[in-house]
């Protein structure tokens, strides 16, 4: 399956791209995805070890199981207002 990873603000700048499509085994969790991303090397290794994550625009935990086509956003500490 494939998921789309979205990066914002400082995360985006560290990695150098605003989004990436990642192939994962079916049944992978958010945690699996994060591990895979760090394995990509480069700026991906500079991401914090446990970023907040949203799956399909809702905050989600590391245990969340992903599905094909999911949109997974790595959410830096928020600073709205």
């Amino acid at each position: 399956m494939e998921v789309t990873v979205l990066l914002f603000a400082a995360h985006r700048e560290r990695v150098g791209v605003p989004s990436a499509v990642v192939s994962l085994p079916d049944g992978s969790t958010v945690r699996t995805l994060l591990s895979r991303l760090r394995g990509l090397g480069g700026g991906w290794r500079d991401l914090p070890p446990a970023p907040a994550v949203a799956v399909n625009r809702r905050y989600a935990s590391g245990d969340s199981v992903l599905a094909d086509g999911d949109e997974v956003a790595l959410i830096p500490p928020v600073a709205g207002g």
Binding site: A10, V30, R38, A52, V53, A54, Y59, S61, P76, G80
Partner: protein, 157 residues
């Protein structure tokens, strides 16, 4: 009806006020967040707001709905602006009207506090010395955080 929006256009406080208020309400509270000309004593020339726009729309709508339920009023409106803002410009506006004042104050405060805790928005301060920095934010409430080393995250609330 509640109302919320994420926009790149300038925010007009009067237009936000016009979203609330009914003949049965005796109190209106409005909050505006504006771009300051300094932070920790360092002169600021402007602020750049980035957002995860589609999620921010959903999250702001949820915050407004929660505030409306708490206040017992559906006259709750909030808008957050994204993009490049100059000093003095309004980045966020919240308006609430209720029959009595305590609820209006409480709900307006609640909305801005939740925005700061949960809205997927980030800001980069542009200093007059030419540098720019992403402001330190808060780990969003509602996000368990995820640990790639396998220590587990909490469930979404």
């Amino acid at each position: 009806m509640t109302w919320s929006d994420i926009t790149t256009s300038p925010i007009d406080p009067s237009a936000v006020l016009a979203r609330v208020g009914t003949p049965g309400d005796g109190a209106v509270a409005l909050f505006l967040g504006t771009v300051r000309n300094a932070n920790h004593g360092r002169p600021v020339g402007g602020m750049e707001y980035e957002g995860y726009r589609r999620m921010a729309r959903d999250e702001l709508a949820a915050i407004v709905s929660e505030a409306a339920a708490r206040a017992g009023s559906d006259r709750v409106a909030a808008v957050h602006r994204l993009g490049e803002l100059a000093v003095g410009e309004t980045s966020v506006a919240v308006a609430v009207s209720t029959p009595h004042r305590a609820e209006a104050f409480e709900a307006a405060r609640h909305v801005i506090e939740e925005i700061k805790k949960r809205l997927p928005v980030w800001k980069r301060e542009h200093y007059l010395d030419g540098e720019a920095e992403w402001l330190e934010g808060r780990v969003p409430v509602g996000a368990g955080g995820c640990d790639a080393a396998g220590h587990g995250g909490v469930n979404r609330r």
